[in-house]
């Protein structure tokens, strides 16, 4: 999570990214709920319907971005919550790399899944 860029201070970077992803997620999460609970009922979801939506380029890109920003926002949020609790030393390092790993796995899975849903095989 805190990759070191030359002079780009990591602590403030994560703070800023958390806000930027938040602003994006507010819009997309609301859209996601509207689309899959009100426009289409969740109970009526089928693979065909999902595939139809995911084959629209704009929707596909939005959903992948949605998944990835949500992953960052969520995992970074958990890390912040734990740092605020005052963890440090080994515990902090374990949590940090554990969360980085979990976040990366989830991100990879989101991309793979999106490709399957859109019927794109690489």
């Amino acid at each position: 999570m805190s990759q070191r860029y030359s002079s780009f201070e990591p602590k403030g970077t994560r703070w800023l990214l958390q806000r930027l992803t938040a602003a994006f997620l507010v819009v997309v999460l609301a859209f996601h709920f509207m689309l899959l609970h009100f426009v289409n009922h969740a109970a009526d979801v089928t693979f065909a319907g999902t595939q139809m939506r995911m084959q629209t380029a704009g929707y596909f890109v939005t959903m992948v971005a949605f998944g990835l920003t949500a992953t960052f926002h969520g995992v970074n949020g958990v890390y912040n919550a734990l740092v605020n609790q005052g963890i440090d030393g080994t515990a902090k390092a374990v949590v940090k790399y554990g969360l980085v790993l979990a976040g990366l796995l989830l991100a990879v899975q989101i991309v793979r899944l999106s490709l399957v849903m859109a019927g794109i095989s690489l």
């Binding site: 030359s6 002079s7 780009f8 201070e9 602590k11 403030g12 970077t13 994560r14 703070w15 800023l16 740092v83 605020n84 609790q85 005052g86 440090d88």
Partner: protein
Amino acid sequence: MSTGITKPEEEEETESQAVGAARAAGESAYGQARMDESEIDAANEASQRRARRAVEDADRTVELKVFRYDPEVPEKEEPRFDSFTVPFAKGMTVLDALMWARDHYDSSLTFRHSCRQAVCGSDALFVDGKQRLGCKTQVADLADEGIPGEVRIEPLPHAEVVKDLVVDMEHFYDQMESVEPYFQDEDTPDGLNEQRQSRENREKIKMSTRCIWCGACMSSCNIAAGNNEYLGPAAINKAYRFAMDEREGEDLTEHRLNIIEQEHGVWRCQTQFSCTEVCPKDIPLTEHIQALKREAVKKNLKFW
């Protein structure tokens, strides 16, 4: 602010002066090191009699429940609450009530106070579940109407208690010092020239200069409670006071931003607004912390 209650306080002063004089007389004039037991008992009894009479004569009284703890006295090693009945007088502050209790019931009741007008910042206390200045809190304001039946007074939470209502402020002062709360510019005008500040800039930092180092904000902060490395609201506000002052040179402002943008600097603030709510000087602490977060981000983006 402590209003110096007119009549009862005068009596009280003279009474305690009389006791003091008696003590001084006992110690020096008669060449004795201390008052002997019977004299102490007599003085205590007289004091208690006076307290009883004052309470009986009072139209209204208020019950103080005061936290007591003293690791050096066996009877007070276990923290407990003591109750003191204090005659209420119009304009009485929590500090006035505490002083009355100390002077009439138990001279070992310990709390810090000095100026009694919300300037020295000595008497931040946890009164009825909130950090307040004893001298700035009217007893009457603690009840929805009339006067409160009971006022609970405790030392500031999240700080080590030294004795009764006195907490160890060392950590707080360390955090304050760590932001280097002073001008250190070499670049001041020569001779008799003034170093001017624009009115707008003065307005911008005005509230932040009001801090009296009472520690109420730090005590109220949930993050500072669990994390000793966090600078805390007061220290960040101090940094704001100088970083936003146009008279401070750019290099120093950057140095200051480097201090507050560390991991346990501004980023730990979770905008719970607890500090802003308890600040006895009404400093918009959260606003200042947020402004510094934005400054730090802007500074870093410039390099990018």
